[in-house]
């Protein structure tokens, strides 16, 4: 694990985002709503995941003009999505000086074998993971933040829960094993032994671990925090609800006060009679439509 100054700065910004909510936005107006509601960062993308799911077609990096508009309209960090393996979209986003790049399964992958070699970039990257091996492979490629994938655009928290439980369980298991069993674990997880050793010693990833994919209500956000997420990404959940500002504020509150059920209750109550996004039963989705299965 290379913990040089450059990597520390990349992790450093992720540290500053902890305990907050990062919201998907597609234009400057949405970015301002997110900032006003208390988002600690926004994620710029072409279409929110539920629209990508509905409309189909190839989902790509957001248009530059839109991204500039978003960067000019808010003072909080702006992240942007690039396609898996599309290192040139990532180079463009770096040149644009976005604050973080999400190499994301929500967009249509550009490379079915290789993720971006993120070590060669000065801008930090976040990547999705379904399990510990995937998380450690992304970190070995240079990711400075991991988020559970969940199932983007589903409005259903079940996959995010599955992925967070899996990662937490696999990390705990490593902490109780004798050192001579870690090599076989590295083989099983298909991850570098140095990172497996780090997790065995520390019981956590060497970078912040956030949650994404399916958060639609304040209680969903608080649930993910209680399960070990250090920050919550909300995609379609805000701008596909029928009152984005209200949902955004309530989700921020529930994320900060997740330890106190009375406060989470207040957050749930603040939503009033507004409706969250309509969810999907992810178990009924055909395998090829699952975004979480993109990447390896």
């Amino acid at each position: 694990m290379i913990l040089n100054d450059e990597f520390r700065l990349k992790i450093g910004l992720a540290e500053m985002l902890k305990g907050g909510v990062i919201m998907d936005v597609t234009n400057p107006e949405q970015a301002q709503i997110a900032e006003r509601a208390g988002a600690c960062a926004v994620m710029a993308l072409e279409r929110v995941p539920s629209d990508i799911r509905k409309e189909g077609g190839v989902a790509r990096m957001s248009p530059i003009r839109m991204m500039r508009g978003i960067m000019d309209s808010v003072s909080i960090p702006v992240m942007a999505k690039a396609r898996i393996g599309h290192f040139m979209e990532a180079r463009v986003l770096e040149a644009l000086k976005v604050d973080y790049i999400d190499e994301s399964e929500v967009l249509t992958p550009a490379d079915e074998d290789n993720h971006i070699d993120k070590r060669g970039f000065r801008v930090p990257f976040v990547c999705g993971a379904k399990n510990l091996g995937e998380a450690l492979r992304r970190i070995s490629e240079g990711a400075a933040m991991i988020r559970t994938k969940g199932e983007a655009g589903s409005g259903n928290i079940v996959e995010a829960v599955r992925h967070m439980r899996t990662i937490q369980r696999e990390m705990k298991q490593l902490t109780v094993l004798p050192h001579d069993e870690l090599y076989a674990e590295a083989k099983r997880h298909q991850a570098p032994i140095e990172l497996v050793e780090y997790v065995a010693q520390n019981g956590k990833l060497p970078v912040p671990n956030f949650s994404a994919g399916g958060v639609a209500t304040p209680a969903d956000a608080a649930l993910m925090m209680a399960m070990g997420a250090e920050t919550v990404f909300v995609g379609s959940g805000i701008f596909k609800s029928n009152d984005p500002e209200r949902f955004a504020k309530a989700i921020v509150k529930a994320t900060t006060y997740w330890k106190d059920p009375a406060k989470v209750l207040e957050a749930c109550d603040e939503v009033g009679v507004s409706e969250p996004m309509r969810g999907l039963d992810t178990s009924k989705l055909p395998e090829e439509e699952l975004m979480a299965n993109r990447g390896w």
Partner: protein, 186 residues
């Protein structure tokens, strides 16, 4: 006991730094929890997010009242909240320290940096700047402890301490020890 304002940001890193420096730390999210601590750290994070929560949860006045009696140490976003004036953009603040700060004054994340600075009576220390603000004006009652590129980056006024960088992300613990001493001296 040192409280760390835990609305958003790197509050866990501050709590760990206080423990490494020989103190005790707890998280503070409510006015009641604020009553139980001897000094408060406002951590790094997003100042806009913290401001919105302070406002909505009616913590703004309790925090100001706390600062009028006890020591507060703000880093980065915390520095912005403690300042008298904030620009880029203009925003509300506690005004406990007579400084004017400009947000994100070095630029975006790619302009973040790790460097070394010299603190008066503290010696050389590492300074991690992340989307940091710059102190554009320091009032007559403000003492500059360390500067970087000619701008004050570690200052104090009476019982309060302000850093535009992140001592909680370095391992030397010098600034946290200094704050613990200030709290003990109260």
């Amino acid at each position: 006991m040192i409280g760390v304002l835990a609305l958003q940001g790197d509050y866990e890193a501050h709590a760990r730094a206080i423990v490494r420096a020989g103190g005790e730390a707890c998280e503070v999210r409510t006015a009641e929890e604020l009553q139980a601590v001897d000094g408060l750290i406002i951590p790094g994070g997003e100042s806009t997010t913290m401001l919105k929560l302070l406002d909505r949860e009616n913590l703004f006045e309790p925090l100001r009242a706390f600062g009028n009696a006890k020591p507060v140490f703000g880093t980065c976003a915390g520095a912005i909240l403690l300042a008298r004036e904030v620009s880029n953009p203009k925003q509300n603040s506690l005004g406990l320290v007579d400084i004017a700060v400009e947000r994100n004054a070095y630029g975006r994340q790619l302009d973040s940096r790790v460097t070394s600075i010299e603190g008066e009576n503290l010696g050389a220390m590492e300074a991690v700047f992340i989307r940091a603000p710059i102190i554009r004006r320091a009032g007559a009652g403000v003492k500059v402890i360390a500067s970087y590129n000619g701008d004050p980056v570690l200052v104090e006024q009476g019982r309060h301490l302000v850093a535009t960088f992140h001592p909680e992300l370095s391992s030397d613990n010098l600034v946290h020890k200094y704050f613990l001493d200030k709290v003990a001296a109260q």
